[in-house]
Symmetry: C2
Subunit: 746 residues, 2 copies
């Protein structure tokens, strides 16, 4: 008796959070669920932090950007590992346009003279920074060549609202050189908008208030940005299309048809150069004109001025516009039951430099997962579905490796791809998962099943506690539902974009963040030493990431019914529609209020007549929009989702329908894309999630409608509402078809 | 006919805002109103900006702090002007304790060495700064003597919430030297709270983020704080009692009974020294310990750390603890009808240095008003009531001149004082009036009658426009009532305090601010050159201030019925009671929420285990309080106020009751004081307005109740509610008596 009791308690402890009986896993029956959790416990045992640490040290030993010899070596090393573990591995090569810097020059020529160093110094405290062979100097990829001279204008973060405020100060950017600080919006937006406003070049620097000594001790005394550090990064106009600029929509194989360089629309129209805050200081200190508004002031020990001038600079950049080979590593493990259903798991391998945090800290988790999955297979537990591990090349210059592969294999992927799971670096802290909301319930189970390595509580428990205590309003909203932590919707910035936005493959992006800090991003200082000192010592969160992503991969691979659930998708879409209505209402009220205050002269009498800040410019009034089509379609979708939920609760589908139903389940995300794509950017086909045209990485949900409102193309809103309603209807039809198949055992 | 029409239009334009018929002035009948406005038009013609400019230049020529020879000379010069204009003028002298610095030394002794300069440099661009004879070096008056050595701890602004956060970081101030930045709370609170928490000294510096290059260009290129500039200022514990520390409650005449210095409770218990940001930089840069929370970071180009140490400093201060004579200038113009009713108008004359902005920019307006009033009297329009112009000495070290005079003449003032109108410097910008809310309607008429010198619209129109466009929530609340701009309630910080808080004399504080900017406050750089370059070039707002304060003085002096109205007082008190209820509710919810999160372990799992920040400390739960007595008393007051308002609308009082009614009207503010005073500080007798015990200058309305809640003495709240209800009842009785007198022509 006593012995039986012990055994019973042991079983409970094995499958459950203490005190809470473990839920049955979505997509599994009770027995399958226990079996899967047992498998995951074995999976965890194969994960070894010391191994992750060794891989991280090895792969980050030297700079290995796309197109470099070291980059090819890294790809081959990774391929070697996959092969040794038993994966069917290949390196898929594409030939893509990849500019690298040939000449970079920045000089202050008036009122004083100063030549920017444009160089990151090596630090004896960090031996990796002494390894500089093949190091790409600081530059922004896909800046156009140029040699210009002009007065400086400070444009703050270079967002639309910053330009609007500059106009109120009467400052015309035409013929000027814009100096912007990094942050608040994706870097590519800064030169794009500056150029639209007439600037002839853009300098981007990291202000210490955003990313430097104001945030904390600087490297190597602390994790934050060294005064000489410069954030590299792409300024390709990815909100139009990412990937090889010469081959939009098709894989950049040797034989692919290519655009002429002059026809490419995603290269900047003005030269762009990133600099350090040490180099920025003399430029900003030499500026005059109005003092910046309070919220524009940064952390340098000067008074910031808007310009224009008297500071005048010469800026020259020239690039090698070469077509180079890139190397995606693709490793397959064939599914034992459903080999035609592919679960894809990826992380890029190219870095701007040593790339310890970005991307290798995510890649080493992926490698650990792959090794463990292979070990499970060898010991008799192969995945039911095919698993593909991908290590992408050339993510940094513009998601190029993943985009070319997705475009190249688009037709197969549309048929076979169950889901794409992305990581891109990692850190100590809190789990953050973004992705398709049909997987929200699925990921909530995983977050409850994996323990935080520092506190031992489930990841979801720790995340909830942190957000409850000091989360942003947005974060609080994400946990407002007692049952679910919201997945954040995906904009862009990593390799999930071609899968989700272009092909309509359900995707997720996984990682930890919030406690491992610092300013190493895209600098010389993103090294093994920095990572293991400041971001994730002992790689405990590397293990946690492998546990999360590994569970996601294995559950997707082994579930008898694929774990898509549409109730949560409906909940999230409902909140986006509410947001759109609020957005329109708030814009309408704000526009009316400000227009009235302009017209009645309030601005004129309230503003300081001795200052240059003038009233805002009158804006077109915001009409009322008919959101009913969207709400009616959502209503139908909700009914179909509820019905399917009830059906699935009543028991499994007829066995002969399993493949059909699973196929309908994983292709349901395809219904949210339309071949015509979004207005002005047909590459982006998803109509629920997209990166913002004027935010870059920042997401826009129901983007056709949202952006028409935001950029004040009010006459386009009704059409976009109908289009968005149409994709919801298409999904409703798909759910109805699943339901019918489920209930019909013919 | 044409001619008559022209004349009619002319009349309207003369008395009215364009398009709006001028209101009849409160306290006057229609004819009296027109007559008064005509008088004010003549008054305005006597005001001459060039004269204000000349006085400002003359009186700010050299440093003239209380107790200095130059200070006495300034008093005599002012007295000479009043006398020449026909005022009955006297200099009233008191003998007060006034410490001045004998020795000031601050050295960093570890981990590196640095000696603070403690010196403000003269600037060739500003000749006044070359005049340094008698200049008081930077110090905080009423710091105790001391010579200490200790490790530094950064305490941010030194507010209660800052100390609470330090405790969460596990930092004990015992035996340490606190370094605080100026701002957010009155300076005297910083050493007071630091000492309560165990610190052995406090250094206060001006951070460039609050008051320096982050705000704008520094002097002389712009108005903001020069790197060597130091804000002087008193740290006397004025929330206990202001004025001569040796003679609380009585005038500091030669024969007054004095406390022994050792019995004084308003001198700091630890030494205090103010320094510049140039001197602060090496100290802060040498500190270690945890990085400060983000909102604690300032504008110096370093990472701020909490300490303690390794930076260790020696700090030594010694003062001359001398009793010195101070000189109040008191100028009287006897009332032609009601000489026993006194309208008092004051501004101090002592400066920490040259004192151009503080106090002289307000004093020259007062002088212009006095000269104009004297001219009107000479030309046959003497004031109906007695007007007293006062130029106070020793305001800077602790409101000493005004306090001693008020205490000395307390019995007469209680009988004769109609109201006290204060100014204390001025600037370009928007009118800001604080004071007794029985005068709110009165001041709203004045703000509508005076035109803004830059835009030509009424002051109230410009203020409303500005606040509507970008005011704080608090400011928006102040204009939320369509009919009235709220007067802000008076805390402390200038000479109205003894009149209002100690004697219950209805008071107001008048000035312009918001556009003339800078960091000259209490530094060597508060000069004529600074003022006329950056704060009010051509003294246009000096004239506007004289127009506002002059109208207030003349209307109070000439009104047949004194212009007190209690409807607005009730409205404001009602909002304070609502605030108290919200305060209790919010504290209760917040306490419960945080206590729960502490108890359920959320803090423990959410906080970064590698950092020193710990969970908050459990707090006593906030009970529910019975606010009914206060609301019942307010209800009665409201009825009495409404009744009196109706009565006054029905016509004037019986002529034989005029003096009695006016007496009852102006002594109504006396009903809001109680002889016992506030808990722990009997000098403060007003029960609607007081400076905060832990905020210093910051006001606390219904302070007995509010502070009992805020400092969590929950068992005292009920008693304080009864006391506050009692003062409302006393006022109700007074209004009832006025109403009875008005309706009874026996």
């Amino acid at each position: 008796m006593a012995r039986t009791l012990t055994l019973f308690i042991g079983l409970i402890a094995f499958i459950a959070t203490p005190g809470i009986p473990a839920e049955i896993l979505i997509g599994f029956d009770e027995a399958g669920s226990e079996q899967q959790r047992a498998l995951e416990t074995r999976f965890d045992k194969y994960l070894d932090a010391k191994e992750l640490d060794a891989w991280l040290r090895q792969l980050s030993a030297e700079p290995h950007h796309a197109g470099s010899v070291a980059g090819k070596n890294v790809a081959e090393a990774i391929a070697g590992m996959f092969t040794s573990w038993g994966f069917d591995t290949e390196i898929e090569e594409y030939s893509v346009l990849l500019p690298t810097p040939k000449l970079r020059r920045l000089e202050l020529v008036a009122p004083t003279r100063f030549t920017a160093s444009l160089n990151e110094v090596s630090l004896s405290d960090d031996p990796s920074t002494l390894v500089r062979e093949n190091l790409l100097p600081p530059y922004n990829a896909f800046s156009i060549d140029g040699n210009v001279e002009g007065e400086l204008v400070f444009i703050n973060y270079g967002r639309p609202e910053d330009h609007e405020l500059l106009q109120r100060y009467g400052i015309d950017l035409t013929g000027k050189i814009a100096i912007a600080r990094y942050g608040k919006t994706w870097r590519g937006i800064k030169p794009k908008l500056a150029a639209e406003n007439g600037a002839i070049a853009t300098i981007i620097y990291s202000d210490p208030a955003d990313d430097g000594y104001v945030k904390g001790d600087v490297y190597p005394a602390g994790p934050f940005k060294h005064e000489s550090a410069v954030q590299r990064g792409s300024v390709m106009d990815m909100p139009i299309y990412p990937g090889d600029v010469l081959t939009p929509g098709v894989g950049a194989t040797m034989s692919a048809k290519r655009l002429a360089l002059s026809d490419v629309t995603t290269i900047t129209t003005i030269p762009v150069l990133p600099i350090s805050y040490k180099d920025a200081l003399p430029l900003l200190a030499a500026m005059g004109g109005a003092v910046v508004p309070p919220e524009w002031s940064g952390g340098l020990p000067i008074t910031y001025h808007l310009g224009p001038g008297p500071a005048k600079v010469q800026l020259e950049v020239k690039f090698n516009w070469d077509q180079v080979p890139i190397y995606n590593v693709i490793a397959r493990l064939k599914g034992s039951l459903y080999p035609e259903e592919w679960v894809i798991r990826g992380n890029h391998h190219d870095g701007w430099n040593h790339g310890a945090a970005d991307p290798l800290s995510g890649l080493v988790a992926l490698l650990a997962e792959a090794q463990a999955v292979a070990e499970l297979a060898k010991s008799g537990n192969p995945p039911a579905r095919t698993i593909i591990y991908a290590a992408w090349d050339a993510e940094e210059p513009g998601l190029i490796g993943s985009t070319e592969w997705s475009e190249h294999h688009a037709e197969q992927l549309k048929i076979h791809a169950v889901a794409y799971l992305n990581t891109d670096g990692n850190s100590r802290g809190f789990v953050r998962i973004g992705g398709s909301h049909s997987l929200e319930k699925f990921f909530n189970q995983i977050m409850a099943d994996v323990k935080d390595p520092q506190t031992g509580v489930p990841l979801s428990t720790r995340l909830r506690a942190s957000i409850t205590i000091d989360g942003s309003d947005e974060a609080k909203k994400a946990i407002a539902d007692k049952d679910f932590i919201r997945l954040y919707p995906l904009g862009s910035g990593s390799d999930y974009s071609p899968f989700l936005h272009h092909l309509g493959i359900a995707s997720a992006n996984l990682g930890f963040s919030g406690e491992g800090k610092g300013g190493s991003y895209h600098t010389l200082y993103d090294t093994y030493e920095h990572y293991t000192s400041w971001r994730d010592p002992e790689l405990k969160y590397g293990i946690a990431l492998a546990q999360v992503a590994g569970r996601a991969t294995l559950r997707l691979a082994n579930a008898s019914i694929l774990p898509f659930d549409f109730i949560n998708l409906v909940t999230n879409i409902a909140s986006y529609i509410e947001e759109l209505q609020s957005l329109a209402d708030e814009m309408r009220e704000e526009t009316t209020k400000i227009n009235d205050l302009i017209k009645d002269g309030s601005y004129k009498i309230a503003l300081d007549p001795s200052k240059s800040l003038g009233p805002p410019i009158l804006k077109e009034a915001v009409p009322f929009f008919n959101f009913a089509p969207l709400k009616n379609s959502l209503s139908k979708l909700q009914k179909a989702a509820d019905l399917l939920h009830e059906t699935s609760n009543d028991g499994g589908p007829p066995p002969q329908k399993l493949i059909e139903i699973n196929n309908l389940l994983y292709t349901s995300e395809r219904r949210l894309i339309r071949d015509a794509g979004l207005p002005g950017r047909p590459w982006y086909k998803h109509h629920i999630y997209a990166p913002g045209y004027y935010t870059g990485y920042g997401v826009k949900t129901i983007p056709g409608v949202r952006e028409s409102i935001e950029i004040r193309q009010f006459d386009k809103v009704a059409e976009q509402i109908d289009i968005a309603a149409g994709v919801l209807d298409a999904l409703t039809d798909q759910l109805t078809a699943i339901n019918e198949a489920w209930n019909n055992d013919d």
